[in-house]
């Protein structure tokens, strides 16, 4: 390894060690003697002093410069989706100051990211609502109109034509149903009108219809109230978790629960599928990152971890409204 590539601590230590060894050699070769008749003992004295000096030098340097390595490591790995990652301000005065400034910079970045993330999510939800309304009101209306027109053509005497009309009607109904499904997914109307428990009940029913995987719902009777944003975060995380189960988990059942936490509401989605490693590998970081982002923006805590039965457990805790 090239000298310049060595960590600063080792470079300084190597230079100091070389200088001290050189000084020791010069001392040994000098004319003056500590032990007049025992040259060997003199060599031992010098060696002991050298070792002590080098040890003290290394400890001092490590104390002063060691935190720099940790700082560099943190700079490489810092993740703004995991807030409050700070480093202890230790080491030499300058190094401690450097760490303090880095901590302050993280604070600023996290605040800015939180604000911009909230704005982005609001814009995304608003755009989803707009597209959902357009699909429902415009495309849905057009397809319903086409169905009515097809109904009026169904009275034709030609059996071939009647069959063709029936097939077209079936296709249009399918398309209409698909449009309604997409509109529902884009904008959880049930959440707005009937609240979180009803919306999650409906979500889990639809999930079972589509995937064939039964969902055991465990919703506590009384839950602390949540802000609209927190409710939406809980709903979206549940939606993403169920989508992941359907796509990757190979599960035979899912538990979906809502329970009160410490001035908070806790969502749990637990499956009995193939587990966290496979789920992460198949899902990549996209879905998980989206969930973490949503959790962060409502000051929630999200854990995606192995479930006791071998599957995956998603746990989201969001603070109650006004907390």
């Amino acid at each position: 390894m090239r000298f310049s590539r060595l960590p600063l601590l080792w470079r300084i230590f190597a230079v100091n060690a070389a200088l001290l060894v050189l000084a020791g050699l010069l001392l040994a070769l000098a004319r003056g003697r500590i032990h007049e008749s025992f040259a060997f003992l003199e060599g031992v004295d010098i060696a002991i002093v050298l070792v002590v000096m080098l040890g003290a030098n290394f400890l001092l340097l490590r104390h002063i410069l060691g935190p720099i390595e940790r700082l560099v490591e943190r700079m490489r790995s810092v993740d703004l989706l995991r807030p409050d990652q700070r480093l202890a301000e230790r080491g030499g005065a300058e190094v401690a100051q450097l760490v303090a400034v880095f901590n302050q910079m993280l604070e600023r970045l996290e605040t800015e990211r939180r604000v911009s993330g909230q704005q982005a999510l609001r814009a995304q939800e608003s755009e989803r609502a707009r597209v959902s309304r357009s699909l429902h009101d415009e495309v849905g209306q057009v397809l319903t109109g086409v169905l009515l027109q097809l109904d009026s053509l169904a009275g034709s005497r030609d059996p071939g034509q009647r069959r063709a009309v029936e097939e077209t009607k079936r296709a249009v109904r399918q398309a209409l149903e698909e449009v309604r499904r997409i509109a529902r997914e884009l904008r959880p109307e049930m959440l707005e009108h009937l609240g979180l428990v009803s919306a999650l009940t409906e979500l889990s029913r639809r999930f079972t219809d589509q995937s064939g995987i039964p969902v055991e719902r465990r919703f506590a009777d009384r839950l602390p109230p949540l802000s609209d944003e927190a409710e939406l975060a809980v709903y979206r995380v549940a939606q993403e978790s169920l989508t992941n189960v359907a796509r990757h988990a190979d599960a035979s059942r899912v538990e979906l629960g809502l329970e009160p936490g410490a001035n908070s509401v806790v969502l749990r989605v637990v499956d009995d599928g193939r587990g966290i490693a496979e789920a992460r590998a198949l899902n990549g970081n996209g879905g998980l990152r989206g969930m973490r982002e949503r959790a962060l923006l409502v000051s929630g805590a999200l854990a995606v971890k192995p479930a006791r039965n071998g599957g995956v457990e998603v746990r989201l805790e969001v603070p109650a409204a006004g907390d």
Partner: protein, 151 residues
């Protein structure tokens, strides 16, 4: 106080580091604290690297400690830097408290894990509590009694 508010107070979370052998004692302390205050207990074990067999051993250690403490104790096994992993788990689990063990030194002695505690304190906004080692003379009152009965 309403029922919801009462329930809410009794559902905090405590994360306990059981990476070292002394962690077993800290886990008993966490469990006693959890039982007394109605907290959810999450035991965390951090491996510094993925080695063949180490993960399996760690999982069985974690499960064994959790089983000793009874139902409802959750477990987390992570790989990586210990401080970072503990802070990450505390954040993900929404912990109100992180418990680490003191190092047992001789009969009744103890040594605080200064480096770990100091780094952890900086790394997470969650308070850090140092559980006394099993060799330390026990008080006859409060939590110590709870640990003695649970152990």
């Amino acid at each position: 106080m309403t029922r919801i508010a009462e329930e809410a107070i009794l559902r905090g979370t405590v994360v306990c580091d059981v990476t070292d052998p002394e962690g077993r004692n800290a886990a008993a302390f966490a469990q006693a604290l959890g039982t007394r205050l109605g907290l959810r207990v999450v035991l965390a074990l951090v491996l510094d690297s993925v080695r063949s067999g180490a993960q399996k051993t760690a999982t069985s250690t974690l499960t064994a400690i959790a089983n000793e403490l009874g139902d409802g104790v959750e477990i987390r096994l992570e790989v990586g830097d210990r401080v970072e992993a503990l802070a990450r788990i505390a954040g993900e689990e929404g912990a109100d408290l992180v418990i680490v063990s003191a190092r047992a030194v001789g009969l009744g002695g103890r040594n605080l894990r200064c480096g770990l505690v100091r780094d952890l304190e900086a790394e997470t906004a969650v308070p850090v509590l140092v559980a006394p080692p099993s060799t330390r003379r026990r008080s006859e009152q409060r939590l110590a009694v709870g640990i003695a009965t649970s152990g």
